[in-house]
C-alpha cells in the first residue's frame, strides 16, 4: 500500500469573479521512503494540492473533494482533531520562504520545542535536548548558543535548515517541501538539497518536493508529476520523464530550459500564457499553446493513461505514440549532442 494516495483531488476557491478551479482532478501516490517531485509553472496548482492534503487552505470559500489516503485514511474527511495529530507528527511541511516562515517574536528554540510538545508528552529538558540534536543534525554551527536566538539572526540558508529541523523533529513518515530552495542562492541550494538527501536516508521519510526547477527534480526525485492548469499531464519515473517525455507541455518545459549540459542557440519557447483557472479552455487545457494541436484536442479532454509498454508512465495527450516517441527522441538528442 502506498503511504499517500491521492485520488481525483479537486480544490475550488469561490472568489468574487467566480469559481477558481485551482486543483481539478489530481491523482498520484507516494511510497514509503521515496521522493515524488511535482513540477509546473506558477499557478498550476502544485502548492494548492499539497496545502489541501495538509488541510491548510482557508476553510471559507474553499471546496475540496476527492480523497487523500494517508496510510489508508482519508485526510480530507477525518475530524479536525485527528488531522491535527497527523500534521507536524506524521506529515510535516517545509515552505518556500524561510525568511517569513518562522515567527519573528519567538526564539527558534521555543518554536521547535512547541513542535515537539504539540505531539509528545515530554519534559522541557528532553524536548530541548531533542531540539539541539536536530539542530546539529541539520548543520547549525554552535547549536547550543544559537537555539535561543531569534529568526532574524539567521541567514536564509540557516533558517531553511531550522525549518527542516522543525519538520523532522517528530520523525514524520512524509515530508512535503514546497519550493524549499527557490528563495536560496545556488550554493546554498546545493547545501539544502544534500541535507535533505542525507536526512532522508537517515530518517527514512518519504518526500514530496514541489518545484518549478526541472534540475532540482532530476537530482532529487524518484517519480515526477508534471502539472499544467490544475491537472496532471504526465506522471513517470524520473529517468523515463527526462529520456522519453510523452507530452508536448513537458517537451516545452524541457526545451525552454537553458542548460549547462547542452548548447542551444535558440530556446524552444512555449507561445502564449497559461490559461485562467476561472475559465480553462475546453478539451485539452494545453491545446491553445500546443504546436501539435489537432481537432480532437479542442473538444475532448485527454485521459491520463499509461504508455503501452510502460505501465508506470502516464500521460494525457491525444497524439499517437509513434509521433511522441519520435519528437521525444529528437528533443533528448538535441539536449545530449549540444
Amino acid at each position: 500500500m502506498a503511504l499517500l494516495e491521492v485520488n481525483d483531488l479537486r480544490t475550488h476557491f469561490r472568489t468574487d469573479d467566480g469559481i477558481v478551479k485551482a486543483v481539478d482532478g489530481v491523482s498520484f501516490s507516494v511510497d514509503k521512503g521515496k521522493t515524488l517531485g511535482i513540477v509546473g509553472e506558477s499557478g498550476c496548482g502544485k502548492s494548492v494540492t499539497c496545502l489541501t492534503i495538509m488541510g491548510l487552505n482557508p476553510s471559507r470559500n474553499t471546496i475540496s473533494s476527492g480523497e487523500a489516503l494517508f496510510k489508508g485514511e482519508n485526510l480530507l474527511t477525518m475530524p479536525k482533531k485527528q488531522l491535527r495529530d497527523i500534521r507536524g507528527n506524521d506529515i510535516a511541511m517545509i515552505f518556500q520562504d524561510p525568511m517569513t516562515s518562522l515567527n519573528p517574536v519567538h526564539t527558534i528554540g521555543r518554536q521547535l520545542v512547541e513542535a515537539i510538545k504539540l505531539h509528545r508528552d515530554v519534559s522541557s529538558r528532553n524536548a530541548r535536548a531533542r531540539v539541539l540534536e536536530l539542530l546539529k543534525a541539520v548543520g547549525i554551527p554552535r547549536a547550543e548558543r544559537r537555539v535561543d536566538d531569534y529568526p532574524h539572526q539567521f541567514s536564509g540558508g540557516m533558517r531553511q535548515r531550522v525549518m527542516i529541523a522543525m519538520s523532522l523533529i517528530n520523525d514524520p513518515d512524509l515530508l512535503i517541501a514546497d519550493e524549499p530552495t527557490t528563495a536560496l542562492d545556488v550554493t546554498t541550494q546545493a547545501q539544502i538539497l544534500e541535507l535533505m538527501n542525507r536526512l532522508q536516508s537517515e530518517f527514512g521519510s518519504a518526500i514530496i518536493i514541489i518545484t518549478h526547477d526541472l534540475g532540482v527534480v532530476a537530482e532529487t526525485a524518484d517519480d515526477v508529476v508534471v502539472m499544467y492548469a490544475a491537472r496532471v499531464v504526465e506522471r513517470a519515473p524520473v529517468d523515463n520523464l527526462f529520456k522519453r517525455p510523452h507530452m508536448p507541455y513537458t517537451w516545452g518545459l524541457l526545451g525552454s530550459l537553458p542548460r549547462l549540459d547542452a548548447d542551444m542557440e535558440r530556446l524552444t519557447q512555449i507561445p502564449g500564457q497559461p490559461p485562467s483557472l476561472l475559465n480553462p479552455p475546453r478539451g485539452c487545457r494545453f491545446h491553445p499553446r500546443c504546436p501539435y494541436v489537432m481537432n480532437v484536442c479542442k473538444e475532448t479532454e485527454p485521459e491520463l493513461r499509461p504508455i503501452s509498454d510502460q505501465p508506470g508512465h502516464l500521460q494525457a495527450c491525444h497524439l499517437d505514440e509513434q509521433t511522441k516517441d519520435r519528437e521525444a527522441a529528437k528533443l533528448v538528442a538535441l539536449a545530449e549532442t549540444g
Binding site: 509553472e41 506558477s42 554551527p141 541567514s155 540558508g157 540557516m158 542562492d185 545556488v186 550554493t187 546554498t188 541550494q189 546545493a190 547545501q191 538539497l193 544534500e194 518549478h212 526547477d213 526541472l214 534540475g215 532540482v216 527534480v217 532530476a218 537530482e219 524520473v238 529517468d239 527526462f242 529520456k243 516545452g252 518545459l253 524541457l254 526545451g255 525552454s256 530550459l257 537553458p258 542548460r259 549547462l260 549540459d261 548548447d263 542551444m264 542557440e265 535558440r266 530556446l267 524552444t268 519557447q269 512555449i270 507561445p271 500564457q273 497559461p274 539536449a335 549540444g338
Partner: protein
C-alpha cells in the same frame, strides 16, 4: 554549433571599459552627530571591458555586488573610486547635464517588471518617455515609433493605451525591453531580467533579447544568478564574489575549464535536468554562508569557504587576477588544474601556487593612473 563567442566577441572595439570600480556605502553611528565607523564594500575593485556587440554575463550570489556594479556603470549611483569609460569617454565624474546625451546610449532593464513600470501610466507613455525626454521627433513620429517598438518586442501595437497591470509578467518584461530599446541605445544593462519569470516565459524573453541583439547590434551586460541563463546568453562571463571579480573569461572557458574554486563550486551546485548525469556527479558543497561585506575576510575573500584553502598564504596575500591566456583571468593562488575535479583533487591542489605577477595585458590592465 553555436559560435556566438567567435562571431561577436573579439572583433568589436571596446564600448565600455571599467577600471578598478569601487562603491563603498558608509555605515554611520553617533548620538548627535553621525560619524562613519565602517563601510560596506559592495563593489571593491572591479575591472572589465565590454566589446561592442557582445554580451558580458555577470554571475554571483546575492550580495556579491553585481547589481550595485550595474548601477554604478549606469551612473545611477556615484562610484567611490575607479573609472568608467564609455565609447572612449570618461564618464565617471560627468555632471547630470553632461550625462544626459550619454544616457540615451545606455539603458537598463530591471528584474521586477511589475515594480519597474509606473502602474498609473499607459504603456505608450512608458515606452515613449525616453523619446520625449531626449526630444526625438514630433508627437506623431513618437507614436509611430512606440507602436513599431511594441511590435518588435512581440506585443500588439494596438495595446498602446493599456496599463501595465493588464499585462502578464512576461508581457510586462517585454514592455521593459521596448522602453529600453526606444532611444536606440548602444548598451543595455539587464539586471536579472528573467529571474521573476516562469521557465517558458523566461525562454520567450531570452530569445527576444538574442534576436534584438542580432538585429540591432546591441551590446548587453547581463546580470543574473542563474548560471544556465548566463551561459545561454553570454559571450563572456564574469564571476563575482563579495564585491570582487573571481574569474572572467570567454563563456566556454568559464564553463568548461573554470580556474577559480568558487566558479567550480557554483558550476557543480547547479542541478542539471538529466537524472543520469546528475547521479554521476557530486556537487562541491561549500561550507557556511557568504560573509558580510561589512567585514569581509582578509586577503582572498573566499578563503573561509574554499576547499583548497592554504593557511598562511590565501589568508595573507590577496590573489591578483592571474592570467591564463586568451583573456581568461582568475583571482586564485591555487587555480583548478582541470575540470571536472573529484572531491579529493578539489581539496588538494597539486601544482605549486601561482607566484608570478599577472602579465600585464594592455587592453585590460586593472590599474589606472
Amino acid at each position: 554549433m553555436s559560435e556566438a563567442g567567435g562571431m561577436n566577441g573579439g572583433s568589436g572595439n571596446d564600448l565600455l571599459v571599467v577600471e578598478d570600480l569601487k562603491k563603498h556605502f558608509p555605515v554611520t553611528r553617533g548620538i548627535l552627530f553621525q560619524r562613519q565607523v565602517a563601510s560596506v564594500k559592495a563593489v571593491d575593485g572591479v575591472s572589465f571591458t565590454v566589446k561592442s556587440g557582445e554580451t558580458l554575463g555577470v554571475v554571483g550570489e546575492s550580495g556579491c555586488g553585481k547589481s550595485t556594479m550595474a548601477r554604478c556603470v549606469m551612473r545611477l549611483l556615484d562610484p567611490t573610486g575607479g573609472r568608467i569609460t564609455f565609447e572612449g569617454r570618461d564618464i565617471t565624474n560627468l555632471s547630470r547635464a553632461d550625462m544626459r546625451p550619454i544616457r540615451r546610449e545606455m539603458m537598463m532593464i530591471f528584474q521586477d517588471p511589475y515594480a519597474s513600470l509606473n502602474g498609473r501610466k499607459r504603456v505608450g507613455f512608458i515606452v515613449a518617455e525616453a523619446l520625449e525626454v531626449h526630444k526625438m521627433g514630433t508627437d506623431a513620429e513618437i507614436k509611430r515609433r512606440v507602436q513599431e517598438l511594441l511590435e518588435v518586442v512581440g506585443l500588439n501595437p494596438e495595446h498602446y493605451n493599456r496599463f501595465p497591470h493588464e499585462f502578464s509578467g512576461g508581457q510586462r518584461q517585454r514592455i521593459g525591453v521596448a522602453r529600453a530599446l526606444a532611444v536606440n541605445p548602444k548598451l543595455i544593462v539587464c539586471d536579472e531580467p528573467v529571474s521573476a519569470l516562469d521557465v517558458s516565459v523566461q525562454a520567450q524573453i531570452l530569445n527576444l533579447l538574442k534576436d534584438l541583439q542580432r538585429e540591432f547590434g546591441l551590446t548587453y551586460v547581463f546580470i543574473a544568478h542563474d548560471l544556465n541563463v548566463v551561459r545561454h546568453i553570454s559571450d563572456r562571463v564574469m564571476v563575482m564574489y563579495l564585491g570582487k571579480v573571481a574569474e572572467i573569461a570567454d563563456r566556454n572557458q568559464v564553463y568548461t575549464e573554470p580556474k577559480h574554486p568558487y566558479t567550480g563550486a557554483l558550476l557543480s551546485a547547479v542541478p542539471i535536468p538529466n537524472p543520469e548525469l546528475g547521479r554521476q556527479r557530486k556537487p562541491i558543497v561549500l561550507q557556511g554562508d557568504v560573509p558580510s561585506p561589512l567585514n569581509p575576510p582578509a586577503a582572498c575573500n573566499f578563503h573561509p569557504r574554499c576547499p583548497r584553502f592554504q593557511e598562511g598564504h590565501c589568508d595573507v596575500e590577496p590573489p591578483p587576477l592571474y592570467s591564463f591566456g586568451d583573456g581568461h583571468r582568475a583571482a586564485c593562488h591555487y587555480p583548478l588544474e582541470h575540470w571536472p575535479l573529484s572531491e579529493e583533487e578539489m581539496r588538494r591542489p597539486s601544482a605549486a601556487p601561482q607566484s608570478a605577477p599577472p602579465p600585464a595585458e594592455p587592453a585590460e590592465a586593472p590599474t589606472s593612473s
